[in-house]
């Protein structure tokens, strides 16, 4: 693991010195360009100890003003639990709102903080076997912060998920570093490398999970972006006995973002 980590860091540092793109799994406080008034979708394949889950959300953000963004996320889910039969369908839909509470701009750099609220409805089918939806209301309240310059992008978000019916409330946190492989020019093709840490802490289960997620992004033009990320679990700690079959082995993500106008 240490060798892999060192190799990833070494690969990552080769990109230092240029401009960067938006993070893949961490929130960004910049609600412009490919982060606003566009479409985002990705296919996420979660390989478990037994079976796998495929999720394909479609996110549509809309900028009401440069400071205020709202949006919706409609995900499709396919669950194949080991030897058992698979189930698929539209899963729990979400709506979100982000508001910029702090902005400090400089020449080719910016530092911004947003407040974010997201509500997930129990719209997915819970009667299927395995269930597609969680069957509970979930409300995320958190913050997104980032310092972005033409040479490096540092991103973070953290927040708490309140669940209905006293289900597993959790604390979520993400950190991301984004570095470019090409000089900061506009417009031009961009190739960005990313390294992210994605953590969650399920309060009732005392379960702490952490993923290390290297990623890559290709922006061939002004309006479209392609991205890929690979999530490796680096921490899975709890004082309870968790069923091993539910443990994630790794996650592969392939996605795109497209500006509507």
């Amino acid at each position: 693991m240490n060798k892999t980590f060192c190799l990833l860091i070494a690969l990552f540092l080769t990109g230092m010195g240029f401009a960067q793109g938006p993070p893949i799994l961490t929130g960004t406080p910049v609600m412009l360009g490919l982060e606003g008034n566009g479409l985002r979708t990705f296919g996420k394949l979660i390989l478990k100890e037994e079976g796998f889950v495929y999720v394909q959300p479609l996110g549509i953000p809309y900028n009401i003003s440069p400071k205020f963004q709202v949006g919706g996320i409609l995900p499709f889910k396919y669950v194949k639990p080991g030897e058992a039969e698979a189930a698929s369908g539209l899963t729990d839909a979400s709506v979100f709102a982000k508001y910029q509470i702090f902005k400090r701009d400089g020449r080719a750099k910016t530092f911004r903080i947003l407040a974010k609220v997201q509500h997930t409805f129990p719209s997915g089918n819970t009667l299927s076997s395995p269930p597609i939806g969680a069957g509970i209301h979930q409300t995320y309240v958190g913050f997104v912060a980032g310092r972005i310059s033409s040479s490096i992008g540092l991103y973070s978000d953290f927040g708490y998920v309140f669940t209905s019916r006293k289900a597993a409330d959790r604390f979520l946190y993400n950190f991301g570093v984004s570095l470019p492989l090409l000089p900061p020019k506009y417009p031009q093709k961009q190739l960005n490398t990313l390294l992210e840490l994605n953590g969650s802490y399920l309060v009732p289960l005392d379960l702490h999970t952490l993923f290390l997620s290297p990623g890559i992004q290709f922006i061939p033009g002004r309006r479209i972006l392609f991205e890929a990320s690979f999530q490796i679990p680096v921490l899975f700690r709890t004082r309870f006995n968790i069923i091993d079959s539910n443990k994630t082995r790794y996650v592969v993500l392939l996605g795109t973002r497209f500006l509507l106008h």
Partner: protein, 115 residues
């Protein structure tokens, strides 16, 4: 043959001269008058990533008379030009930049393209 050429030569000559005169006249009429333009340099703070520049470019293109915007990301500058009679005011440009989610700096005008 000789007599034919002799008789038609003056007519042809007149024709040639007339068509030459009219072609010069029409060419002058069609030649675009050199448009006087004003060149504008806008300092934009917060423009940190190439993917953010798209929105700013589109917003600046909405200004009347602007048909091309050149964004220099590293310097945080946008260059644009408009016909003199459509020259946008500093307040108008500043509003476009601020509404686009960035902070405006110095705005300079010039009658020649910036180096």
């Amino acid at each position: 043959m000789k007599s034919f050429l002799k008789s038609t030569l003056p007519v042809n000559l007149v024709f040639v001269l007339l068509s030459l005169f009219f072609s010069i006249l029409s060419a002058n009429a069609q030649a675009p008058q050199e448009e006087q333009r004003v060149y504008i340099k806008v300092e934009i703070f917060g423009l940190a990533c190439p993917y953010c520049a798209y929105g700013m470019e589109q917003d600046l293109l909405q200004l009347a008379g602007v048909d091309k915007v050149d964004i220099q990301l590293k310097e945080g500058l946008a260059y644009l030009s408009t016909p003199v009679e459509q020259k946008p005011g500093k307040k108008e440009i500043a509003k476009v930049v601020e509404d686009g989610g960035f902070t405006v700096g110095k705005i300079e005008y010039s009658d020649k393209p910036f180096e």
